[in-house]
């Protein structure tokens, strides 16, 4: 299976702290995308990093990609209560589908 696997499964942090989660995958990819899902809701696209990129930023989000280790990390800086959600990595290894991991559930405590 190509599916990415996130680590840790769950993360609880204090508001203002940083949250880091990792994603590992198995085969070569075109790109890797990170999504957020609030409980019972849709998937919100956060960021896409291509296989020839090593780092990308978007607001308080920082994503890294290490293709030699087949891994990616998502860092959320200065977390807020509104960041409480599940975060998924999804790998695109052909043009037509994404393979999702099981997600990291992040709880930000006020």
């Amino acid at each position: 299976s190509q599916q990415g696997e996130e680590d840790p499964q769950a993360l609880s942090i204090q508001e203002g702290e940083n949250a880091t989660m990792n994603c590992s995958y198995k085969t070569s990819i075109n790109n890797l995308q990170w999504y957020r899902q609030n409980s019972g809701r849709g998937l919100v696209h956060l960021i896409l990093i291509r296989s020839n990129e090593r780092e990308k930023h978007s607001g308080r989000l920082r994503v890294t990609l290490d293709t030699s280790k087949k891994s990616s990390s998502l860092l959320i800086t200065a977390s807020r209560a509104a960041d409480t959600a599940s975060y998924f990595c999804a790998t695109d290894w052909n043009d037509y589908k994404l393979s999702f991991g099981a997600g990291t559930t992040v709880t930000v405590r006020a």
Partner: protein
């Protein structure tokens, strides 16, 4: 900001009935997808659609499933004879091109009784 929309938000049906889930992708996007998420499980790819034909489908997408783009804006998923195990959240997504960001709709929660 353009969004993918889906209707209905929740569909309840009896086992064996046909359901049609509807999606309006983002208007300048060319690739369309359906995914599903059974409660507590991973998001799973069902099918992709480009240039009015299926590009790829998963093993889940058997003869009971079909997709259609009946006009220039809608993209539908039909389940011909629903089973209990079809109960899930169904997400539509679209992207401008392959290998681009896929933007997801809010989902349709399908409950099969």
């Amino acid at each position: 900001e353009p969004e993918v929309t889906q209707t209905p938000s929740h569909q309840v049906t009896q086992m064996g009935q046909e359901v049609i889930l509807r999606c309006v992708p983002i208007s300048n996007h060319l690739y369309f997808y359906w995914y599903r998420q059974i409660l507590g499980q991973k998001v799973e790819f069902l099918v992709s659609f480009y240039n009015n034909e299926i590009s790829e489908k998963s093993e889940i997408f058997d003869d009971q499933f079909s997709v259609e783009r009946p006009d220039g804006s809608n993209f539908t998923l039909k389940i011909r004879s629903t089973k209990l195990e079809d109960s899930a959240m169904y997400f539509c997504a679209s992207s401008r091109q392959g290998r681009n960001e896929q933007f997801f709709g809010p989902g349709t929660r399908l409950t099969v009784l």
